[in-house]
């Protein structure tokens, strides 16, 4: 592999890590004032607009406090309940043939937890959510791609390819099996453009990732 290509790959890993990080923060909790400021940034909106995301600008015209409150209510309605909501947990959404589908803390939750822990990461003791929350899975990819970037920088090609293998495995065994499906439901149910468009972006990104990671990892056995 040439140096240019390695540099390119390093850059791609960095970009991917950033995107995963952003998406993780979208689902992790209600939109914070900081995130809202960043999202409202014309440059960021421009990129989203280039991607075809329709974040109606009038949406952002509301007073910030009201906007944050609306987004919090929408976040609860979509991801928390009480009552009907779109569960952001793999074990509930995962279309698996084990009869345990549709419950919290299913077998897939244990699988995700074991997968993540097998890479040397651990769950923060302050973390109160479940191990297979969408934000955790996205954060995990953020960490993996970050590590891949580091490997490229350190010219540790084997290490980088190791990372890619793990990324591919996690996407194939977990993300792609439920996230697009989950995002479709969010897109359908969202009332505010923010979550509707973020879900669409998440879905497209994960599907893009599945194809691309094949390419990045093309030379893997």
């Amino acid at each position: 592999m040439g140096n240019t290509e390695k540099a390119q790959r390093m850059a791609v890993a960095r970009q991917r890590s950033n995107i995963y990080g952003l998406l993780a923060s979208v689902y992790r909790q209600e939109v914070t004032a900081d995130l809202l400021h960043q999202v409202k940034d014309p440059q960021f909106l421009g990129v989203l607009s280039d991607l075809g995301l329709q974040l109606a600008s009038d949406f952002f015209q509301k007073p910030e406090e009201e906007l944050l409150s609306d987004l919090a209510v929408e976040y609860a309605r979509l991801f928390l309940g009480p009552g009907k909501h779109v569960s952001p947990h793999e074990s509930v959404q995962h279309q698996k043939g084990d009869g345990q589908g549709g419950l919290l803390w299913g077998e897939s939750t244990a699988e995700v937890k074991r997968f993540i822990e097998s890479t040397g990461l651990s769950y923060n003791s302050e973390y109160t959510g479940l191990p297979d929350h969408i934000s955790v899975e996205l954060e995990f990819m953020q960490q993996l791609t970050l590590r891949e970037e580091q490997a490229w920088r350190e010219e540790d090609e084997d290490g980088a390819l190791d990372c890619l293998r793990t990324e591919r495995k996690f996407i194939e065994e977990h993300l792609i099996r439920w996230v697009p499906f989950f995002c479709d439901k969010v897109t359908r149910e969202a009332e505010l453009p923010f979550y509707r468009e973020m879900a669409a972006l998440t879905k497209n990104f994960i599907e893009f990732e599945r194809e691309e990671v094949e390419g990045y990892a093309g030379d893997l056995k």
Partner: protein, 284 residues
Amino acid sequence: MSENVALSRRKMIKGAGALALGAAAGLAPISKATAARGKAPRWAFIVDLRRCTGCRTCTVACKAEMNTPLGAFRAAVYDQVVGTFPKTEKHFLPRLCNHCEGNKEDGIPPCIKDCPEYPKDRRQFITPEGKKIRYRGGATYKRPDGMVLYENELCTGCGKCIKACPYGARSWDKLLISGKDSTKNGIAKCTFCQHRVDNGVVPSCVNMCPQKARIFGDLNDPNSQVSKLVKEFGLLENRDKNTLLPKENTVPMLFYIDPRGALMKMANARKKFEKEEAWVDQIT
């Protein structure tokens, strides 16, 4: 761990858990008398209708044990009201796979007979004493100890066994993909909790039944409870009264102790226990 069948690893682990339970919690393990003889056990399942109260602990215990999806039941209970007020009666009939011996002529149950993936491989059944007994395997097959089992890895999802069972004891598992044809579902049925039995503990429904209305054991062991009950109630001699659909000549290993003639009354009323009926446990 038994080498008797290609269990999925997951189930083996669950079986091991069951074993741990048996040992640690002091559950009555299945009698070990067969170990002395080197003969395969001859499993029999008895439902004591005097004791069954229709509580459905068996139904739920089975769902929990086997992760059976909604719409399918490996164990179910049927309720039937018969008679005219005020002489009304209500009867409960727990149902599960009969683990048939098969007719006298060939000794093959109808579900196995119709399976295109049977017979396939040759297998060995190892008795508790270590004696090896050879038998034929397939997508569905019968072990020398009488368990009628299936193996999804070999299953083509053709559904012939479902049609062949006169009792409707087999159904599609809509969350399972058949091993040999990814466009088809696999099947589900009662396995006598083979993963537990092979580890020396009784099936889950037997363990859970609050009324001890379900009894499982080895007819080759004269001291087993099933042997005693079979003798006391003449179950082997009176298969026409104590098993379902005797005319089908399937020779079930599931017997009912039925002094009130519930089987007959239910059959006369509405229940036919035939394959056309979907197995759905419903309290009405």
